[in-house]
Protein backbone atom coordinates (compact mmCIF):
# COMPACT_ATOMS: atom_id res chain seq x y z
CA UNK A 1 0.00 0.00 0.00
CA UNK A 2 2.78 2.37 0.85
CA UNK A 3 4.19 3.93 -2.25
CA UNK A 4 7.26 5.27 -0.56
CA UNK A 5 8.43 3.74 2.66
CA UNK A 6 11.50 4.33 4.74
CA UNK A 7 12.80 0.94 3.66
CA UNK A 8 12.28 1.62 0.00
CA UNK A 9 13.75 5.11 0.28
CA UNK A 10 16.83 3.54 1.80
CA UNK A 11 16.81 0.92 -0.93
CA UNK A 12 16.48 3.62 -3.55
CA UNK A 13 19.31 5.65 -2.09
CA UNK A 14 21.40 2.53 -1.80
CA UNK A 15 20.71 1.62 -5.38
CA UNK A 16 21.47 5.12 -6.53
CA UNK A 17 24.79 5.07 -4.73
CA UNK A 18 25.50 1.64 -6.17
CA UNK A 19 24.53 2.74 -9.63
CA UNK A 20 26.80 5.76 -9.36
CA UNK A 21 29.70 3.49 -8.52
CA UNK A 22 28.80 1.14 -11.34
CA UNK A 23 27.45 2.37 -14.64
CA UNK A 24 25.12 5.29 -15.12
CA UNK A 25 22.21 4.95 -17.50
CA UNK A 26 19.31 6.76 -19.07
CA UNK A 27 15.69 5.72 -19.37
CA UNK A 28 13.95 6.52 -22.66
CA UNK A 29 10.14 6.61 -22.67
CA UNK A 30 8.07 6.99 -25.86
CA UNK A 31 5.00 9.22 -25.40
CA UNK A 32 2.36 8.13 -27.90
CA UNK A 33 0.10 11.20 -27.73
CA UNK A 34 2.80 13.87 -27.40
CA UNK A 35 5.00 12.55 -30.20
CA UNK A 36 8.01 12.85 -27.90
CA UNK A 37 10.53 10.83 -25.95
CA UNK A 38 11.12 11.61 -22.27
CA UNK A 39 14.63 10.90 -21.04
CA UNK A 40 15.24 10.19 -17.36
CA UNK A 41 18.52 9.96 -15.55
CA UNK A 42 18.90 6.46 -14.09
CA UNK A 43 20.43 7.72 -10.85
CA UNK A 44 18.10 10.58 -9.96
CA UNK A 45 15.09 9.08 -11.77
CA UNK A 46 14.20 12.58 -12.92
CA UNK A 47 13.33 13.75 -16.42
CA UNK A 48 16.43 15.39 -17.91
CA UNK A 49 15.21 15.90 -21.47
CA UNK A 50 12.15 15.66 -23.67
CA UNK A 51 12.55 15.72 -27.43
CA UNK A 52 10.19 15.53 -30.38
CA UNK A 53 9.91 12.43 -32.53
CA UNK A 54 7.88 11.27 -35.50
CA UNK A 55 4.18 10.83 -35.05
CA UNK A 56 2.77 8.31 -32.60
CA UNK A 57 5.95 6.88 -31.12
CA UNK A 58 5.37 3.42 -29.66
CA UNK A 59 7.88 0.53 -29.71
CA UNK A 60 11.32 1.48 -28.45
CA UNK A 61 14.57 -0.47 -28.03
CA UNK A 62 18.33 -0.03 -28.09
CA UNK A 63 21.29 -1.48 -29.93
CA UNK A 64 23.61 -3.88 -28.04
CA UNK A 65 26.45 -1.32 -28.12
CA UNK A 66 24.10 1.19 -26.39
CA UNK A 67 24.86 3.84 -29.03
CA UNK A 68 21.45 4.00 -30.65
CA UNK A 69 17.84 4.14 -29.52
CA UNK A 70 15.40 2.77 -32.10
CA UNK A 71 11.79 3.95 -32.23
CA UNK A 72 8.65 2.97 -34.12
CA UNK A 73 7.09 6.20 -35.42
CA UNK A 74 3.81 4.46 -36.20
CA UNK A 75 1.94 7.23 -38.03
CA UNK A 76 5.01 8.23 -40.05
CA UNK A 77 5.52 4.65 -41.21
CA UNK A 78 9.18 4.50 -40.41
CA UNK A 79 11.76 3.67 -37.75
CA UNK A 80 13.75 6.48 -36.19
CA UNK A 81 17.29 6.05 -34.91
CA UNK A 82 18.48 8.39 -32.15
CA UNK A 83 21.92 8.89 -30.66
CA UNK A 84 21.54 7.74 -27.05
CA UNK A 85 24.14 10.25 -25.87
CA UNK A 86 23.06 13.42 -27.70
CA UNK A 87 19.42 12.53 -28.47
CA UNK A 88 19.97 13.69 -32.05
CA UNK A 89 18.14 11.94 -34.88
CA UNK A 90 20.76 9.82 -36.66
CA UNK A 91 18.57 8.52 -39.49
CA UNK A 92 15.23 7.04 -40.37
CA UNK A 93 14.73 3.52 -41.66
CA UNK A 94 11.96 1.96 -43.75
CA UNK A 95 9.52 -0.12 -41.76
CA UNK A 96 6.45 -0.89 -43.81
CA UNK A 97 3.12 0.66 -42.74
CA UNK A 98 2.17 1.33 -39.14
CA UNK A 99 5.12 -0.14 -37.24
CA UNK A 100 4.01 -0.80 -33.68
CA UNK A 101 6.59 -3.04 -32.08
CA UNK A 102 9.87 -4.57 -33.11
CA UNK A 103 12.69 -6.73 -31.86
CA UNK A 104 16.36 -6.50 -32.66
CA UNK A 105 17.92 -9.86 -33.52
CA UNK A 106 20.80 -11.14 -31.41
CA UNK A 107 23.14 -10.20 -34.29
CA UNK A 108 22.51 -6.57 -33.32
CA UNK A 109 21.69 -5.51 -36.90
CA UNK A 110 18.56 -7.26 -38.10
CA UNK A 111 15.34 -5.64 -36.99
CA UNK A 112 11.99 -7.45 -37.14
CA UNK A 113 9.09 -5.01 -37.27
CA UNK A 114 5.38 -5.77 -36.75
CA UNK A 115 3.26 -3.88 -39.31
CA UNK A 116 -0.10 -3.77 -37.58
CA UNK A 117 -2.16 -2.61 -40.56
CA UNK A 118 -0.51 -4.81 -43.16
CA UNK A 119 -0.36 -8.25 -41.52
CA UNK A 120 3.37 -8.42 -42.19
CA UNK A 121 6.61 -8.59 -40.31
CA UNK A 122 9.15 -6.45 -42.14
CA UNK A 123 12.80 -7.39 -41.72
CA UNK A 124 15.46 -4.70 -42.21
CA UNK A 125 19.16 -4.23 -41.65
CA UNK A 126 19.55 -1.18 -39.41
CA UNK A 127 23.05 -0.38 -40.67
CA UNK A 128 22.36 -0.45 -44.42
CA UNK A 129 18.63 0.33 -44.21
CA UNK A 130 18.00 -2.52 -46.64
CA UNK A 131 14.68 -4.37 -46.45
CA UNK A 132 15.61 -8.04 -46.22
CA UNK A 133 12.17 -9.64 -46.19
CA UNK A 134 8.47 -9.18 -45.64
CA UNK A 135 6.96 -12.12 -43.80
CA UNK A 136 3.16 -12.62 -43.98
CA UNK A 137 1.73 -13.38 -40.55
CA UNK A 138 -1.69 -13.23 -38.88
CA UNK A 139 -4.04 -10.27 -38.63
CA UNK A 140 -2.80 -7.28 -36.61
CA UNK A 141 0.72 -8.42 -35.75
CA UNK A 142 2.07 -6.90 -32.58
CA UNK A 143 4.27 -8.69 -30.05
CA UNK A 144 7.82 -9.55 -31.10
CA UNK A 145 10.34 -11.75 -29.30
CA UNK A 146 13.64 -13.29 -30.35
CA UNK A 147 14.97 -16.62 -29.08
CA UNK A 148 18.24 -16.25 -27.18
CA UNK A 149 20.07 -18.36 -29.79
CA UNK A 150 18.69 -16.16 -32.58
CA UNK A 151 17.12 -19.04 -34.49
CA UNK A 152 13.56 -17.80 -34.22
CA UNK A 153 11.66 -14.58 -33.99
CA UNK A 154 8.17 -14.91 -32.60
CA UNK A 155 5.38 -12.58 -33.62
CA UNK A 156 1.93 -12.49 -32.03
CA UNK A 157 -1.13 -11.49 -34.05
CA UNK A 158 -3.87 -9.73 -32.12
CA UNK A 159 -6.83 -10.90 -34.18
CA UNK A 160 -5.64 -14.32 -35.35
CA UNK A 161 -4.65 -15.07 -31.73
CA UNK A 162 -1.48 -16.89 -32.64
CA UNK A 163 2.21 -16.87 -31.89
CA UNK A 164 4.03 -17.27 -35.22
CA UNK A 165 7.56 -18.72 -35.16
CA UNK A 166 9.66 -17.16 -37.93
CA UNK A 167 12.88 -18.95 -38.95
CA UNK A 168 15.55 -16.25 -39.06
CA UNK A 169 17.49 -18.05 -41.81
CA UNK A 170 14.64 -18.55 -44.27
CA UNK A 171 12.36 -15.71 -43.07
CA UNK A 172 9.46 -18.16 -43.16
CA UNK A 173 6.85 -19.00 -40.57
CA UNK A 174 7.67 -22.52 -39.46
CA UNK A 175 5.16 -22.99 -36.63
CA UNK A 176 2.04 -21.40 -35.17
CA UNK A 177 0.65 -21.75 -31.68
CA UNK A 178 -2.92 -20.75 -30.90
CA UNK A 179 -3.08 -18.69 -27.71
CA UNK A 180 -5.80 -16.75 -25.92
CA UNK A 181 -7.53 -13.69 -27.25
CA UNK A 182 -5.49 -10.66 -28.33
CA UNK A 183 -1.90 -11.74 -27.70
CA UNK A 184 0.30 -8.74 -27.07
CA UNK A 185 3.81 -9.66 -26.04
CA UNK A 186 6.19 -12.59 -26.62
CA UNK A 187 9.06 -12.89 -24.17
CA UNK A 188 11.64 -15.69 -23.96
CA UNK A 189 13.37 -16.81 -20.81
CA UNK A 190 17.05 -16.05 -21.25
CA UNK A 191 17.92 -19.79 -21.35
CA UNK A 192 15.43 -20.27 -24.18
CA UNK A 193 13.46 -22.90 -22.26
CA UNK A 194 10.14 -21.05 -22.25
CA UNK A 195 8.27 -18.47 -24.27
CA UNK A 196 5.73 -16.37 -22.38
CA UNK A 197 2.87 -14.85 -24.42
CA UNK A 198 0.40 -12.43 -22.81
CA UNK A 199 -3.24 -12.30 -23.98
CA UNK A 200 -4.91 -8.97 -23.30
CA UNK A 201 -8.56 -9.99 -23.67
CA UNK A 202 -8.01 -13.62 -22.68
CA UNK A 203 -6.52 -12.35 -19.43
CA UNK A 204 -3.78 -14.99 -19.40
CA UNK A 205 -0.11 -15.59 -20.03
CA UNK A 206 0.59 -18.79 -21.97
CA UNK A 207 3.85 -20.58 -21.30
CA UNK A 208 4.99 -22.21 -24.54
CA UNK A 209 7.60 -24.89 -25.05
CA UNK A 210 9.55 -23.27 -27.91
CA UNK A 211 10.82 -26.56 -29.31
CA UNK A 212 7.57 -28.55 -29.15
CA UNK A 213 5.51 -25.45 -30.01
CA UNK A 214 2.99 -26.41 -27.36
CA UNK A 215 1.45 -24.57 -24.45
CA UNK A 216 2.61 -26.20 -21.23
CA UNK A 217 0.97 -23.90 -18.69
CA UNK A 218 -1.29 -20.88 -18.42
CA UNK A 219 -1.08 -18.18 -15.80
CA UNK A 220 -4.33 -16.49 -14.79
CA UNK A 221 -4.74 -13.40 -12.67
CA UNK A 222 -7.36 -12.53 -10.07
CA UNK A 223 -7.19 -9.30 -8.13
CA UNK A 224 -9.56 -9.02 -5.22
CA UNK A 225 -12.15 -6.31 -5.82
CA UNK A 226 -11.07 -5.62 -9.40
CA UNK A 227 -13.46 -6.61 -12.23
CA UNK A 228 -11.99 -9.45 -14.25
CA UNK A 229 -12.44 -7.55 -17.52
CA UNK A 230 -10.04 -4.90 -16.22
CA UNK A 231 -7.27 -7.49 -15.83
CA UNK A 232 -5.58 -7.29 -19.24
CA UNK A 233 -2.05 -8.71 -19.45
CA UNK A 234 0.24 -6.83 -21.82
CA UNK A 235 3.92 -6.25 -21.02
CA UNK A 236 6.01 -9.18 -19.75
CA UNK A 237 9.56 -9.11 -18.41
CA UNK A 238 11.53 -12.01 -16.92
CA UNK A 239 14.72 -11.58 -14.89
CA UNK A 240 17.92 -13.00 -16.33
CA UNK A 241 18.01 -16.10 -14.10
CA UNK A 242 14.34 -16.84 -14.82
CA UNK A 243 13.32 -16.86 -11.17
CA UNK A 244 10.90 -13.95 -11.32
CA UNK A 245 8.63 -12.41 -13.93
CA UNK A 246 6.53 -9.27 -14.05
CA UNK A 247 3.32 -8.89 -16.03
CA UNK A 248 1.64 -5.52 -16.71
CA UNK A 249 -2.13 -5.86 -16.27
CA UNK A 250 -3.51 -2.86 -18.16
CA UNK A 251 -6.53 -1.05 -16.67
CA UNK A 252 -6.38 -3.00 -13.41
CA UNK A 253 -3.45 -0.64 -12.78
CA UNK A 254 -1.40 -3.51 -11.40
CA UNK A 255 1.83 -5.30 -12.20
CA UNK A 256 1.76 -8.97 -11.25
CA UNK A 257 4.86 -10.52 -9.73
CA UNK A 258 5.13 -14.15 -10.81
CA UNK A 259 7.41 -16.93 -9.60
CA UNK A 260 9.36 -17.91 -12.70
CA UNK A 261 9.47 -21.59 -11.76
CA UNK A 262 6.14 -22.40 -10.10
CA UNK A 263 4.26 -19.73 -12.10
CA UNK A 264 2.48 -18.76 -8.90
CA UNK A 265 1.41 -15.10 -8.72
CA UNK A 266 3.23 -13.74 -5.67
CA UNK A 267 1.90 -10.21 -5.55
CA UNK A 268 0.02 -7.47 -7.38
CA UNK A 269 1.61 -4.04 -7.26
CA UNK A 270 -0.54 -0.93 -7.74
CA UNK A 271 1.35 1.25 -10.23
CA UNK A 272 -0.31 3.80 -12.53
CA UNK A 273 -3.32 3.80 -14.81
CA UNK A 274 -3.46 1.45 -17.82
CA UNK A 275 -0.04 -0.04 -17.26
CA UNK A 276 1.30 -1.11 -20.61
CA UNK A 277 4.97 -1.96 -21.14
CA UNK A 278 7.79 -2.90 -18.81
CA UNK A 279 11.58 -2.87 -18.83
CA UNK A 280 14.43 -3.37 -16.41
CA UNK A 281 17.30 -1.13 -15.43
CA UNK A 282 20.62 -2.52 -16.77
CA UNK A 283 21.39 -4.29 -13.47
CA UNK A 284 17.76 -5.51 -13.12
CA UNK A 285 17.46 -3.90 -9.69
CA UNK A 286 14.61 -1.70 -10.90
CA UNK A 287 11.67 -2.27 -13.21
CA UNK A 288 9.95 0.56 -15.03
CA UNK A 289 6.31 0.47 -16.11
CA UNK A 290 4.68 2.86 -18.57
CA UNK A 291 1.28 3.95 -17.29
CA UNK A 292 -0.62 5.25 -20.30
CA UNK A 293 -3.60 6.93 -18.70
CA UNK A 294 -1.84 8.51 -15.72
CA UNK A 295 0.96 9.84 -17.94
CA UNK A 296 3.75 8.57 -15.76
CA UNK A 297 6.12 5.69 -15.20
CA UNK A 298 6.34 3.68 -12.00
CA UNK A 299 9.63 2.51 -10.58
CA UNK A 300 9.52 -0.92 -8.94
CA UNK A 301 12.23 -2.20 -6.64
CA UNK A 302 12.67 -5.73 -7.98
CA UNK A 303 14.17 -7.22 -4.80
CA UNK A 304 11.62 -5.62 -2.48
CA UNK A 305 8.77 -6.07 -4.97
CA UNK A 306 7.62 -2.59 -4.11
CA UNK A 307 6.71 0.53 -6.04
CA UNK A 308 9.14 3.18 -4.87
CA UNK A 309 8.44 6.11 -7.13
CA UNK A 310 6.23 7.48 -9.89
CA UNK A 311 7.59 10.01 -12.36
CA UNK A 312 5.46 12.13 -14.66
CA UNK A 313 6.45 11.93 -18.34
CA UNK A 314 4.54 12.86 -21.52
CA UNK A 315 0.99 12.05 -22.59
CA UNK A 316 0.25 8.34 -22.94
CA UNK A 317 3.69 6.83 -22.33
CA UNK A 318 3.94 3.61 -24.34
CA UNK A 319 7.36 1.96 -24.36
CA UNK A 320 10.45 2.18 -22.17
CA UNK A 321 14.09 1.15 -22.48
CA UNK A 322 17.08 1.73 -20.21
CA UNK A 323 20.42 2.44 -21.90
CA UNK A 324 23.78 2.24 -20.08
CA UNK A 325 26.06 5.25 -20.63
CA UNK A 326 29.83 5.12 -20.81
Amino acid sequence: MRLLTAVSVAALLGLSAGAAQAQSYKIFVSNERDHTISVLDGDSLEVIDTFETGRRPRGITKTPDNKWVLLCASDDDHIEVYDAETHELVKTLPSGPDPELFVLHTDGETLYIANEDDNLVTVINIVSGEILAEVPVGVEPEGMGVSPDGRYVVNTSETTNMAHFIDTESFEVVANVLVDSRPRIAEYKSDGSELWVSAEIGGTVSIIDPEAHEITEKITFEISGVPQEAVQPVGVKIVEDGSLAFVALGPSNRVAVVDGESKEVLDYLLVGQRVWQLNFSPDESLLFSTNGASHDISVIDVAEREVIKSVGVGQYPWGVVAVPME
Binding site: R2, G225, V226
Partner: protein, 233 residues
Protein backbone atom coordinates in the same frame (compact mmCIF):
# COMPACT_ATOMS: atom_id res chain seq x y z
CA UNK B 1 -36.74 28.97 -47.17
CA UNK B 2 -33.02 28.68 -47.72
CA UNK B 3 -31.79 26.57 -50.60
CA UNK B 4 -28.36 25.05 -50.04
CA UNK B 5 -25.69 24.58 -52.62
CA UNK B 6 -24.62 21.19 -51.22
CA UNK B 7 -24.90 18.42 -53.77
CA UNK B 8 -27.22 15.58 -52.72
CA UNK B 9 -24.55 13.01 -53.63
CA UNK B 10 -22.02 14.66 -51.37
CA UNK B 11 -24.52 14.69 -48.53
CA UNK B 12 -25.29 11.05 -49.14
CA UNK B 13 -21.63 10.05 -49.13
CA UNK B 14 -20.98 12.11 -46.02
CA UNK B 15 -23.83 10.56 -44.11
CA UNK B 16 -22.87 7.05 -45.20
CA UNK B 17 -19.28 7.69 -44.07
CA UNK B 18 -20.46 8.96 -40.72
CA UNK B 19 -22.81 6.08 -40.18
CA UNK B 20 -20.04 3.51 -40.48
CA UNK B 21 -17.25 5.38 -38.66
CA UNK B 22 -18.19 4.74 -35.00
CA UNK B 23 -18.46 1.00 -35.47
CA UNK B 24 -15.22 0.86 -37.43
CA UNK B 25 -13.39 2.76 -34.70
CA UNK B 26 -14.52 0.38 -32.03
CA UNK B 27 -12.77 -2.69 -30.68
CA UNK B 28 -14.57 -5.83 -31.78
CA UNK B 29 -14.96 -7.17 -28.25
CA UNK B 30 -17.02 -4.26 -27.03
CA UNK B 31 -20.68 -3.28 -26.67
CA UNK B 32 -21.62 -2.17 -30.19
CA UNK B 33 -23.83 0.68 -28.98
CA UNK B 34 -20.89 2.23 -27.10
CA UNK B 35 -19.43 4.96 -29.35
CA UNK B 36 -16.03 5.44 -27.73
CA UNK B 37 -12.72 3.80 -28.54
CA UNK B 38 -12.17 3.48 -24.78
CA UNK B 39 -13.54 0.33 -23.23
CA UNK B 40 -16.95 0.82 -21.58
CA UNK B 41 -16.57 0.55 -17.82
CA UNK B 42 -19.88 1.65 -16.22
CA UNK B 43 -18.56 1.77 -12.65
CA UNK B 44 -15.13 1.69 -11.06
CA UNK B 45 -14.30 -0.47 -8.08
CA UNK B 46 -12.23 0.88 -5.15
CA UNK B 47 -9.57 -1.80 -5.66
CA UNK B 48 -8.73 -0.36 -9.09
CA UNK B 49 -7.22 2.70 -7.45
CA UNK B 50 -6.78 1.71 -3.80
CA UNK B 51 -4.81 -0.86 -1.84
CA UNK B 52 -5.77 0.43 1.61
CA UNK B 53 -8.34 -0.95 4.10
CA UNK B 54 -11.82 -1.96 2.90
CA UNK B 55 -14.17 1.00 2.54
CA UNK B 56 -17.68 -0.52 2.48
CA UNK B 57 -18.61 1.05 5.81
CA UNK B 58 -16.87 4.34 5.00
CA UNK B 59 -18.85 4.71 1.78
CA UNK B 60 -21.98 5.04 3.94
CA UNK B 61 -20.46 7.24 6.63
CA UNK B 62 -18.33 9.91 4.99
CA UNK B 63 -21.16 12.31 4.27
CA UNK B 64 -21.92 12.55 8.00
CA UNK B 65 -18.49 14.04 8.63
CA UNK B 66 -18.68 17.72 7.80
CA UNK B 67 -14.92 18.24 7.45
CA UNK B 68 -14.56 15.27 5.14
CA UNK B 69 -17.62 16.20 3.10
CA UNK B 70 -16.32 19.73 2.57
CA UNK B 71 -12.84 18.54 1.64
CA UNK B 72 -14.23 15.93 -0.75
CA UNK B 73 -16.21 18.61 -2.52
CA UNK B 74 -13.15 20.84 -2.86
CA UNK B 75 -10.73 18.10 -3.94
CA UNK B 76 -13.15 16.57 -6.43
CA UNK B 77 -13.58 19.86 -8.25
CA UNK B 78 -11.37 20.13 -11.30
CA UNK B 79 -11.04 23.83 -10.56
CA UNK B 80 -8.51 22.89 -7.90
CA UNK B 81 -5.12 22.12 -9.52
CA UNK B 82 -3.89 18.66 -8.63
CA UNK B 83 -0.76 20.06 -6.97
CA UNK B 84 -2.90 22.14 -4.64
CA UNK B 85 -5.06 19.07 -3.95
CA UNK B 86 -1.96 17.11 -2.93
CA UNK B 87 -0.99 19.89 -0.52
CA UNK B 88 -4.47 19.91 1.00
CA UNK B 89 -4.31 16.14 1.49
CA UNK B 90 -0.90 16.47 3.17
CA UNK B 91 -2.27 19.12 5.54
CA UNK B 92 -5.29 16.96 6.29
CA UNK B 93 -3.08 13.94 7.03
CA UNK B 94 -0.87 15.90 9.37
CA UNK B 95 -3.82 17.42 11.22
CA UNK B 96 -5.43 13.98 11.65
CA UNK B 97 -2.62 12.89 14.00
CA UNK B 98 -3.21 9.47 15.52
CA UNK B 99 -6.45 9.11 13.55
CA UNK B 100 -4.61 9.49 10.26
CA UNK B 101 -5.32 6.01 8.88
CA UNK B 102 -9.03 6.14 9.60
CA UNK B 103 -9.45 9.74 8.46
CA UNK B 104 -7.56 9.20 5.22
CA UNK B 105 -9.58 6.06 4.50
CA UNK B 106 -12.78 8.01 5.08
CA UNK B 107 -11.53 10.76 2.78
CA UNK B 108 -10.75 8.23 0.07
CA UNK B 109 -14.21 6.69 0.43
CA UNK B 110 -15.81 10.09 -0.05
CA UNK B 111 -13.70 10.97 -3.07
CA UNK B 112 -14.24 7.57 -4.62
CA UNK B 113 -17.99 7.73 -4.26
CA UNK B 114 -18.25 11.32 -5.40
CA UNK B 115 -16.08 10.92 -8.50
CA UNK B 116 -17.33 7.46 -9.37
CA UNK B 117 -20.93 8.72 -9.30
CA UNK B 118 -20.00 11.71 -11.43
CA UNK B 119 -18.21 9.44 -13.87
CA UNK B 120 -21.16 7.03 -13.94
CA UNK B 121 -23.53 9.86 -14.84
CA UNK B 122 -21.27 10.82 -17.73
CA UNK B 123 -21.08 7.23 -18.96
CA UNK B 124 -24.89 7.06 -18.98
CA UNK B 125 -24.93 10.42 -20.77
CA UNK B 126 -22.62 9.03 -23.45
CA UNK B 127 -25.01 6.10 -23.90
CA UNK B 128 -27.90 8.53 -24.44
CA UNK B 129 -25.69 10.55 -26.78
CA UNK B 130 -25.02 7.40 -28.80
CA UNK B 131 -28.72 6.53 -28.90
CA UNK B 132 -29.53 10.05 -30.17
CA UNK B 133 -26.86 9.76 -32.83
CA UNK B 134 -28.25 6.42 -33.93
CA UNK B 135 -31.77 7.89 -34.16
CA UNK B 136 -30.44 10.86 -36.11
CA UNK B 137 -28.54 8.65 -38.53
CA UNK B 138 -31.75 6.70 -39.11
CA UNK B 139 -33.59 9.96 -39.79
CA UNK B 140 -30.89 11.02 -42.27
CA UNK B 141 -31.15 7.69 -44.04
CA UNK B 142 -34.97 7.95 -44.27
CA UNK B 143 -34.85 11.54 -45.56
CA UNK B 144 -32.28 10.61 -48.15
CA UNK B 145 -34.38 7.69 -49.36
CA UNK B 146 -37.49 9.82 -49.53
CA UNK B 147 -35.66 12.51 -51.46
CA UNK B 148 -34.29 9.94 -53.90
CA UNK B 149 -37.73 8.44 -54.31
CA UNK B 150 -39.23 11.87 -55.05
CA UNK B 151 -36.57 12.58 -57.60
CA UNK B 152 -37.19 9.29 -59.36
CA UNK B 153 -40.93 9.90 -59.38
CA UNK B 154 -40.48 13.32 -60.90
CA UNK B 155 -38.03 12.05 -63.48
CA UNK B 156 -35.17 14.19 -62.32
CA UNK B 157 -33.71 16.10 -59.47
CA UNK B 158 -35.64 19.17 -58.25
CA UNK B 159 -33.85 22.26 -59.38
CA UNK B 160 -32.56 24.60 -56.76
CA UNK B 161 -32.97 27.75 -58.85
CA UNK B 162 -36.79 27.67 -58.71
CA UNK B 163 -37.28 26.55 -62.32
CA UNK B 164 -39.93 24.00 -63.21
CA UNK B 165 -39.04 20.35 -62.83
CA UNK B 166 -39.05 17.93 -65.75
CA UNK B 167 -42.37 16.31 -66.83
CA UNK B 168 -43.57 13.00 -65.42
CA UNK B 169 -42.40 9.79 -67.02
CA UNK B 170 -45.99 8.97 -68.14
CA UNK B 171 -45.74 11.94 -70.43
CA UNK B 172 -48.54 13.89 -68.75
CA UNK B 173 -47.75 17.50 -68.14
CA UNK B 174 -47.83 18.53 -64.52
CA UNK B 175 -49.63 21.69 -63.72
CA UNK B 176 -47.44 24.58 -62.56
CA UNK B 177 -49.01 24.29 -59.08
CA UNK B 178 -48.16 20.57 -58.89
CA UNK B 179 -44.60 21.22 -59.83
CA UNK B 180 -44.27 24.11 -57.39
CA UNK B 181 -45.64 21.91 -54.60
CA UNK B 182 -43.23 19.14 -55.48
CA UNK B 183 -40.32 21.53 -55.59
CA UNK B 184 -41.27 23.05 -52.22
CA UNK B 185 -41.57 19.62 -50.63
CA UNK B 186 -38.24 18.48 -52.03
CA UNK B 187 -36.60 21.67 -50.79
CA UNK B 188 -38.01 21.03 -47.31
CA UNK B 189 -36.50 17.55 -47.38
CA UNK B 190 -33.20 18.95 -48.56
CA UNK B 191 -33.26 21.51 -45.75
CA UNK B 192 -33.95 18.79 -43.18
CA UNK B 193 -31.20 16.61 -44.61
CA UNK B 194 -28.75 19.49 -44.45
CA UNK B 195 -29.44 20.33 -40.81
CA UNK B 196 -29.65 16.74 -39.58
CA UNK B 197 -26.35 15.97 -41.29
CA UNK B 198 -24.71 19.08 -39.88
CA UNK B 199 -25.88 18.31 -36.34
CA UNK B 200 -24.74 14.71 -36.68
CA UNK B 201 -21.38 15.85 -37.99
CA UNK B 202 -20.79 18.36 -35.20
CA UNK B 203 -21.76 15.85 -32.54
CA UNK B 204 -19.47 13.32 -34.16
CA UNK B 205 -16.57 15.76 -34.03
CA UNK B 206 -17.19 16.24 -30.30
CA UNK B 207 -17.02 12.51 -29.69
CA UNK B 208 -13.34 12.47 -28.74
CA UNK B 209 -13.91 15.13 -26.10
CA UNK B 210 -17.06 13.42 -24.82
CA UNK B 211 -15.35 10.05 -24.59
CA UNK B 212 -12.35 11.55 -22.77
CA UNK B 213 -14.56 12.88 -19.96
CA UNK B 214 -14.80 9.64 -17.93
CA UNK B 215 -11.05 9.14 -18.44
CA UNK B 216 -10.28 12.60 -17.06
CA UNK B 217 -12.35 11.91 -13.94
CA UNK B 218 -10.67 8.54 -13.49
CA UNK B 219 -7.28 10.19 -13.80
CA UNK B 220 -8.15 12.68 -11.08
CA UNK B 221 -9.49 9.95 -8.80
CA UNK B 222 -6.31 7.92 -9.30
CA UNK B 223 -4.06 10.91 -8.61
CA UNK B 224 -6.00 11.80 -5.43
CA UNK B 225 -5.99 8.18 -4.25
CA UNK B 226 -2.27 7.93 -4.83
CA UNK B 227 -1.74 11.16 -2.87
CA UNK B 228 -3.79 9.81 0.04
CA UNK B 229 -1.95 6.49 0.08
CA UNK B 230 1.39 8.24 0.22
CA UNK B 231 0.45 9.47 3.69
CA UNK B 232 -0.68 6.10 4.98
CA UNK B 233 1.52 3.75 6.99
Amino acid sequence: MRIHASAPLAVLLLSVTMLVTPAAAQPAHQDESWPCIQRKVPQLQPAQVWTGPPVEEELRLWRNDREIATLVSQLASRRMPIEEARERIAEFAEAAGAQKQERLTLLFAGLFQRLNNERGRIVRGIERYAENQKALSEAIKNTREELASRQEEEGGAPRRDGSIATPRRDGADATPDDLQDNLRFASDLDEKLYWDTRIYDERHRALTYVCDSPVIIEQRLFALSRAIQQHMD
